[in-house]
Symmetry: C2
């Protein structure tokens, strides 16, 4: 069994302060991909990462421009007999709204109670940084890496990865690898090490309901016109039955029902529903569909949620108007083999069919992502499990995530590569929420996990990494 290299460990021990300082520096760049005014910060973050790659000894570091935000590429290709792994993380982060719920400034990160606090600390700059620091430690102590690595760090993951597929296709020839390791997932409830074996896909829409060109006096016009906000509420209500079932025709047609084995495996996960409810802080947990458990509903069944809703007067006090328009962002999490583009048509047609009279309704497709299932018997996945056990001291659980990584299925479809999702964030990381955190024990130990994984894979031939074979 390969343990963490003593030299690497000593290096990591003595450089902890500099490493945290560098982590803080990266988090201070407000790289919110959804907001067009942040474009200069996106470039700044990309440049910072590329410079860091060069500094630690990676090669061909490049800020690759796209029609959207840049992609950062870098590699190390000096282990001709060893496998090549493509590492994917993303340097863009979620918007910070509702900003008033942050206890501190989102881009003024700091350490508190063993956690790094700040937007991106977990999702996903923290994990990107772990990969840089793992490579740095190995290169600094040995001058070489035991395998070949290609890093692809995206800047549009949080805004549905509009430009990465094109870039992957254009650069297919120079992206040869044996597998992809994605570090953008996390541990199971209770902070138990985990490898994620499936992701949900996504359909993200916006519904726009318009009545009169301007807000109307609710006294003069109340009773004479349809109210766009009431109409929007009715449309949203029609989207789901009282029991949570999505009512869009054909929504479940392509869902592959879970096998008995899959349901059994999920039921074996050490899940404490009461503790979970306590952490989430809701009056009651509400499984999304009848006939499925909570874990099934939140990971292997599709969902439909309003992500935001707005219209009319939202200020202090009262204003007696009929809003001119009302809007909602509505997204679905999809499971194999649902197709977002196909479902968008069904969704749009259904919304228009249930729209009340007297308003104009439009439905926009703001982005889709395909669902993904991975193979836990893949040699890289097995090596990742060994690395987690060797560093965190316990076998990982295999979990199915409710989240989406738009690009993850594309590595399979566009590059033909198996995907392993090895992520390190704590389940209570507040990803996408105010006061995002990363448990520093996960961060520090996870860096060791990565070096351990590289050393393990470095003992294999490319063929063994692809097909299985001797393992240490």
């Amino acid at each position: 069994m390969i343990t963490v290299d003593a030299g690497v460990e000593a290096y990591l021990d003595t450089t902890r302060d500099q490493r945290l300082e560098s982590y803080l520096e990266l988090l201070r760049i407000p790289s919110i991909s959804a907001l067009s005014e942040q474009a200069p910060d996106m470039h700044r973050a990309a440049r910072w990462i590329a410079d860091e790659m060069t500094r630690i000894g990676l090669e061909h570091a490049e800020v690759a421009l796209t029609a959207g935000h840049p992609i950062v590429y870098g590699d190390y290709l000096h282990a001709p007999d060893a496998p090549t792994i493509l590492v994917y993380c993303h340097y863009d982060v979620q918007p910070v709204d509702p900003i008033e719920l942050w206890e501190t400034a989102p881009f003024d990160p700091f350490v508190k109670d063993g956690r790094m606090v700040g937007r991106g600390s977990a999702d996903d700059k923290g994990q990107l940084h772990m990969h840089l620091k793992a490579a740095e430690a190995m290169l600094a102590t040995r001058g070489t890496l035991p395998l070949n690595l290609r890093y692809v760090f995206e800047g549009e993951e949080e805004s549905t990865s509009a430009h990465l597929p094109g870039w992957l296709t254009d650069n297919r020839d120079r992206l040869g690898a044996d597998a992809v390791v994605i570090s953008d997932t996390g541990f199971f409830e209770g902070n138990i090490p985990a490898i994620t074996t499936s992701l949900r896909g996504m359909l993200y829409t916006q519904i726009d309901v318009t009545g009169a060109p301007i807000d109307l006096h609710s006294g003069s016009f109340g009773g004479a016109v349809q109210n766009p906000a009431n109409a929007l509420a009715r449309i949203i209500t029609e989207l789901k039955a009282n029991d949570g079932t999505v009512r869009v025709p054909g929504f479940y047609d392509d869902v592959i029902p879970p096998t008995r084995q899959e349901r059994f495996e999920i039921s074996c996960l050490p899940f404490d529903e009461a503790a979970y409810q306590e952490i989430v802080g809701v009056p009651a947990l509400v499984p999304g569909e009848p006939g499925f458990t909570l874990l099934e509903c939140s990971a292997i069944r599709p969902t439909l949620d309003v992500n935001g809703i707005w219209g009319g007067f939202t200020g202090e006090g009262s204003k007696t108007i009929i809003p001119a328009h009302a809007h909602a962002k509505v997204s679905c999490r999809l499971v194999p083999d649902q197709d977002g583009e196909k479902l968008f048509i069904a969704f749009r047609d259904y919304v228009l069919s249930v729209a009340p009279k007297g308003v104009t309704v439009e439905v926009q497709n703001l982005g889709t992502a395909k669902p993904l299932r991975t193979d836990i018997n893949n040699p890289v996945s097995k090596a990742a499990a060994r690395a987690l056990k060797a560093t965190f001291g316990q076998d990982p659980v295999f979990i199915r995530s409710g989240g989406s990584i738009p690009v993850a299925p594309m590595f399979e479809t566009l590059l033909g590569l198996p995907v392993v999702m090895l992520g390190f964030t704590n389940p209570d990381d507040n990803a996408h929420a105010p006061n995002e955190t990363m448990v520093l024990l996960n961060y520090e130990t996870g860096i060791r996990t990565i070096t351990r994984l590289w050393d393990d894979l470095g003992t294999m031939s490319p063929l063994e990494a692809r097909m299985g074979g001797t393992t240490a």
Copy 2:
């Protein structure tokens, strides 16, 4: 028949420019009562009006402080044999949201195409200003007024008149009068002179739906928790049946059904539904309830409308969250004899009863107002009709307004005075909406109407003004 006094007419003709300048000056003060940060502007507006009263020769001008915004009082009491009229207008205005739909700054008023454009130009600073200018013209040309006037100008009409009832009660002894003239209504469709004979009441609420303490990642938690925005949409949908009927139990119990005569009178109004739809700019008109005409639904039937809705991510692009909370402002227009306070209890209980599991729901009462019906055979009402005909050249129509003036019924209940609603705004004034306007022909002619009305009432004894009698 009493016509407009030639001296008054000459004075008004020669002072038109100064009058417009003064009108603009009053509109420039952003007296939004709903916003606490505007309190200094409320005082500034009140002071401006009181100073103007003193300047033109009214007496006892006073900025009366309350626990909310001040009330401006002033009087002229030197016609011992003539009636006393209490004039009510308000100097507060609606908020300006959505500010982005204003073509110009709301408080930078200007004249365009024969209209004054700016917040408050119609509702209600414009009409308040007409009363000041009518009194000014009479006092400047004669040194006296033909009757006694008490002006009560409120600063909280647009935020449910929290403090005026108390002030009226406290000052009942010095508010003796024979009738109240309220100028806060307008003309009928097509800009036909009108006297308003009923107002709807109001119940204004806010529904607050809370799930988790923070926004949740919709991938990790979608399918495991109730979504507050979906829950809010369902609650709103449950408030009304598909045909528009309000489903709150007991909502219609106290509604006095319109008589056959009332429905006949409404059906005789010169209402062009196609032209109305064109002006409002909606894809279709939607009567609020089955079995009633559009004019009935918008004036003599109660309504329920969402005035504003908000929650979650409302920015550019996509953010995949389950909102921590979602909110709606929901108000009802009420008709005799519905009682807002009583209905609030029913409304709140019903909302809580239809709230989905897994969220916490609270319902706030943000204010109520009683509905009002007036008597068109009142001598002051008849005199107002004569004054309109004499100045606008046509008989007014008697209309029932869908709007609310919270204090209007209180003049009856607290002071025992009959109310006459003589208002001058054009129906397309955009009151409560962006780009509010007042047709200057209505403004200028209406000032003449007021002077004509005062001269007419000045020929009556107080008893005649109350009970009817000789009319010119």
